[in-house]
Symmetry: C2
Subunit: 205 residues, 2 copies
Amino acid sequence: MRISELSRRSEVPIATIKYYLREGLLPPGRSVTATQAEYDETHLRRLRLVRALIGVRGLSVSETKAVLGAVAAHRAERHQVLGLVMGARPVDEAAEPAPGPGAAEVDALIAELGWEVSEHAPARGVLGETLESLRSLGEPVDRESLLRYAELAGRIAEVDLDRIAGTVDPLEQAERALVLTVMMEPVLLSLRRLAQENESAKRNA
Amino acid sequence: MRISELSRRSEVPIATIKYYLREGLLPPGRSVTATQAEYDETHLRRLRLVRALIGVRGLSVSETKAVLGAVAAHRAERHQVLGLVMGARPVDEAAEPAPGPGAAEVDALIAELGWEVSEHAPARGVLGETLESLRSLGEPVDRESLLRYAELAGRIAEVDLDRIAGTVDPLEQAERALVLTVMMEPVLLSLRRLAQENESAKRNA
């Protein structure tokens, strides 16, 4: 397809596609004339992934380039690709994770659950910090509640992974996982609010 | 207690407490001299609720006043107080809810679940809009997945309600419910990210 069709199908403006080509985020098309190139489905998929990394994860162009480079090196390993795109795995494996507030509690929880999670997963930091904030507000999360929440999060993750299980291409799967993970957050939080109201009605009936 | 102690225990500056007193968000203390008043535990609790409505729910001073007025009228009904503080129930019951995008799908889901949820619950709007956005991105949420997510949200709400079940005073309970609901959101979302990584590792082992 021509760049105009690539733009139409991806909903990315032609000028932006040209910018990504110059920056090496998108491999060049196959030249047909001195001024025209042909693009294919792999360009479209790569473009969707670039848009998700920049638009959904909020990465810069150079960070996106680093993630794409790391993804290319692990292309055959589906779980590694997912982790890199989702941000759970660092592009530079040699970087030491810096333990923030609550890190010991998070380590203990993950060990108790027996979960296999990268040392670098950013969600560790968010979890530790929020647990610390709740403690300082006088509302610590007791161990039993935390384990119940974690078990339910595990079951939500099963639904999440089931939804992308049919996607064959690892890059496309990673892009869908990223979009679905982030876009489903308001769905899950609003279902929780509605469920709370229903649960409160039941208990006070 | 004096205003200085009320300020220390609530962590609200004295000037802010005086502003809330002038605006009627906080009932006056018992005058002991021409320039001094005594405050008690009910002031402390009310102050915490005001801070949660303004700081956590982001209400204006006049909106907070309206919520407190409606709460006072339903003081004995625990579920009503919770709904008013959480924003699930409108202060003005006569206001017609305006159906936004996805409202029909949300209505159908809530009917299928048999959930008892106010027509005015703002979470309905968030849910409907996000389901519509996902559809327009080419990633509609299939009915089976949505029902599985809703069932899990229901179980999360049970944990949430269990945590505040021991709180006797309805106003204090509503304030805790508001703080816990909002503050737990990053905990739940980061647990989901960690669980996804673990689930992906399991499936690709």
